[in-house]
Symmetry: C2
Subunit: 220 residues, 2 copies
């Protein structure tokens, strides 16, 4: 069964709040949804105990999405971002006017409608705000323009390209095994200096922002 509008909103917010790797707290979720924390607890308990669970939840520990939940969330986000793109292109909305409209439409359009606007727009990669649009098979793309520095704890991917590095840096990265096509995994993130601890072929390294912003990756 398709999740209700309310549940779709929960999933969408949980997705956004957990993009950084850490679980979403009841309080944060309540704030994002304009709902009282007590109500959020009730809903996440229900969502966690359903047949195919959409979320992972332990009392007092916050929530994360299961892979089923993530798919459902990406479906809504895809609808939202395609709608924004479409409204801007075909009805002359400005980028700051579309959000509210898409927020309502995203819950009611059919899959057929989704396919039609995606095709009409030429399967765009980003919406008018520059945000990436999840693909038709419900994966969030991490394209060339997404630097390693945007990844957080527990995310992993494959190096696509390295841009703007001088010969010295390239040699250094090569020594560490950081070349295109290599798989990497983010072990930790320091919010203070934006240093990332990453694992590459069994070894871990700590890299600063000046380096991670030059390495472009694709999520695995």
């Amino acid at each position: 069964m398709k999740p209700s509008t309310s549940i779709q909103d929960y999933l969408k917010r949980i997705y956004e709040l957990t993009e950084s790797g850490s679980p979403a707290s009841t309080n944060d979720l309540a704030r994002e949804l304009n709902i009282k924390p007590a109500s959020v607890t009730g809903m996440i308990q229900k969502l966690a105990s359903e047949k195919p669970a959409l979320i992972e939840y332990q009392k007092h520990q916050g929530v994360t999405l299961t892979s089923a939940g993530k798919k459902a969330a990406l479906e809504v986000i895809r609808h939202h971002r395609l709608l924004e793109t479409w409204l801007v292109q075909t009805l002359g909305y400005s980028w700051d006017e579309v959000h509210e409209e898409a927020e309502k439409l995203e819950h009611v359009i059919s899959e057929d409608f989704e396919r039609r606007i995606a095709a009409a727009l030429g399967h765009p990669l980003r919406d008018p705000h520059g945000e990436l649009i999840p693909t038709a098979d419900l994966k969030m793309p991490l394209d060339d323009t997404t630097p390693l520095s945007a990844l957080r704890k527990n995310q992993s991917g494959k190096i696509l390209s390295i841009k703007g590095a001088d010969a010295d840096l390239l040699r250094y990265l090569d020594e560490l095994g950081l070349t295109p096509n290599t798989m990497i995994e983010v072990i930790d993130y320091s919010p203070f200096d934006h240093n990332l601890t990453i694992k590459v072929e069994k070894k871990t390294h700590v890299l600063g922002l000046s380096v991670t912003s030059k390495i472009f990756i694709e999520e695995s």
Copy 2:
């Protein structure tokens, strides 16, 4: 406050069922809405007893719309028909595919969205099914192509034109005062022979289908 999606559906169906002049029965409404008759009774009782009542209701007598209710219904119908027109024209839907999609979208689009698609379409008079689209000020247009024979009890309007009448008929209508710009009022309708009893300048006349189908009017 904007009526809920459920209430909008009730109003839309009541509008359709009462177009012929007679009130809508609980049973018919239940059938149209795919809802049990007992549930309909509950809802119409609520709607009839609200601050600005949207419907007129007497036990066992069926319901009609108040003018506020009619406005709300026409708003939904306008949304629906504009959406159908727009989906067909911009996304290549065929006329038989759009209904379901419009049925969901009609409840969530903003007034701004309505204005934008109306303008983009050049303020169309009819939707892809040929149905008239209510105007922006929420009146159902009765254009040149709508004959007097389509009107029912309690409807009134102004004669726009007379088409296909021979000299004898024109002279006869002129005697009765039935000329363009004259206000008329339907007093009664006979479903057996389609005779209409109408009032024109304090006098009433009974007209047959062969006459009423040649007089074109605009609702007042």
